[in-house]
Symmetry: C3
């Protein structure tokens, strides 16, 4: 597959990506959505969120700092998205870190039809039951990320992406192993959230598929590689990541992409 | 007019600019307020917000991620500001994007006396009834931004600023067309919110007038031009914008300013 | 004392630092925690926050944009931390700026056992009763920061740190005067909050002591000095601050540190 095909489609259609997300990394999510080619909007008052979800290209639900008020809005907006054919991307931040987060994640997955689940190895290991450890919002160890992705994809009939040093994406019995990225991603808060936003933009423009999600993750990770070449640490790396994704050209993403489809 | 006169007055008085704003771009609002010469404070618990509004130099109300709790605080703080002679700047982010936002905007405008309304062409077109389109929090097309500004300025007895590639400011039958800025502003989340914060600082130090608001918008836009000269994309552009506004000198702002008063 | 001993211990143990903090500077708090060597997590729904506080290395309570909901979570998480032997760092942002903030600060100090109180001279002067002025969230004048630190340390049996151009730390009858830092810290929003996060990482890894808190503040301030050498203004200074703290080596911190223990 050529990831640039998907990238061009995103840039050409400027999908509106509605986020109900955490207040820690929300600004980075907004900016990375723009740099990916989308248009971000954030709304979490229930009546506002349902109106906007209904007319968006994609809804990203990220439970990083969920509370009872925003949890209700996530459910309502998720259902509004479902009713209007708007795909939902779900990032179960910190699933496994507390009983509350486990309850939120399982409720969302049972009441909202998600097009994509994207999480780190620990979260996805916990969610899938394959096994994983979570410490705060960091991923701990996970027994088998590829199996977690496959199981979640099958159970929820969606695309499942488990991110880490290597990323595992699964959908409908097929899978992909993605090997781009850079160690500095682990030293910046919110890079996982940003990946979900980029996946939201690609899903909004191209639909949710093994290919579109793999292209989104790869675009982000190739941008990280390019930014790392000029970075002096996590601060300049993060600033450069926005530039690199914004400026990413077809030659760079296709030439550097390391996607193994199975 | 010499915009540097206003800039110097802001820097000389360090106005306290209270914000009740959205959680997406709030950090940028705080930092741009400092770079403009003001001192930012954010408080949205009702009793806290009214106490602080009463002693501030200006109150900025931005409804980017408004909810029922913060909506009540906006109204209470706005009234406290009114009672204490503190000018209020209102940014109706996303007006026209949902029924909830329309209700919030119209309620604020009917219950709080605003000194300045600042929005993009779509939002201000919707609010004024002149006509405009809004998609999420992006401005869509608008029929006549100058007419929107004039109508809102007249209806609410305030300064009205419609931002876009060209900015239109109106007040008391007079108007200004501002032509500074840079295309990269459209690729960074929150540049509109930041303009409102800078307007808040200028209004807090100089009062709300066609001149002070035009100077504020121009200071921001000239800083954008200067930052763009060295930027490699939206990330470095945004970082440089803070530097450029902080370092802006009288020669640069006055020499580069393109303000047509009518 | 050699501050690098503490820095190495933080990096070696990667303490989990739970924050209930404000939405203005929370992203900077998360990133500076990582750059200091810790792992940040933010959770403020009461049941989530208590579960996570109980298993964290440290809890940082920052009341910068506190509201009734998060105030209750701060109290509950603080008590959960106390019950589980997890140290609590308290940053009374804006104490003295409103009656609400005064009530929040005094309630937290009476119901939660804090290991460290860290504030600016105005806030700590107000809290201690020694005398100080607060304007919004900026520090105004304060009569005697060293006395404020000593009095709060004695009253609450904790480490008290009063930051400013010179920082005063007190604990158990001993004190330290810290003289690192840079003027640009005053032109970036949230540098005080970031110091509290770094103190949280050091406290989580090394316990709360005059030495560990002094090392944390000094690490941050030396990083500021290093970043300032290459900065063109507040934007590039802030970006570089993350790089500098992340890259800080033993020679730089120990060689540059200006800590006078008494």
């Amino acid at each position: 597959m050529q990831p640039s095909t998907y990238m061009d489609r995103v840039r050409g259609s400027r999908p509106l990506v509605h986020h109900i997300t955490n207040y820690v990394t929300v600004n980075d999510c907004a900016n990375i959505t723009i740099c990916a080619g989308g248009s971000p909007v954030m709304a979490d008052q229930e009546s506002d969120a349902t109106d906007i979800a209904a007319v968006s290209s994609c809804l990203v639900i990220n439970m990083g700092t969920v509370n009872e008020r925003t949890f209700a809005s996530m459910l309502a907006a998720g259902k509004a998205a479902n009713e209007n054919g708007v795909p939902v991307v779900f990032d179960p931040v910190g699933a496994g870190a507390s009983r509350y987060r486990d309850r939120v994640a399982s409720t969302i997955l049972s009441e909202v039809e998600v097009a994509v689940i994207k999480g780190n190895a620990g979260e996805m290991g916990v969610l899938s039951g394959v096994g994983g450890e979570v410490r705060g919002v960091d991923s701990g160890s996970a027994s088998d990320p590829a199996a977690s992705a496959a199981k979640l994809a099958s159970e929820y009939g969606c695309v499942a992406a488990v991110t880490g040093q290597t990323d595992h994406v699964a959908c409908g019995g097929r899978s992909a192993v993605l090997s781009n990225g850079h160690a500095l991603l682990g030293s910046v808060s919110g890079t996982g959230c940003m990946v979900s936003s980029v996946v939201g933009a690609y899903t909004g423009a191209c639909g949710a598929s093994l290919e579109s999600v793999s292209a989104a993750v790869t675009a982000f990770n190739v941008a990280a590689e390019l930014s790392a070449e000029r970075a002096g640490g996590p601060g300049t790396f993060k600033t450069g990541l926005f530039d690199a994704l914004f400026n990413l050209d077809a030659g760079s993403i296709d030439g550097r992409s390391r996607i193994a489809m199975r």
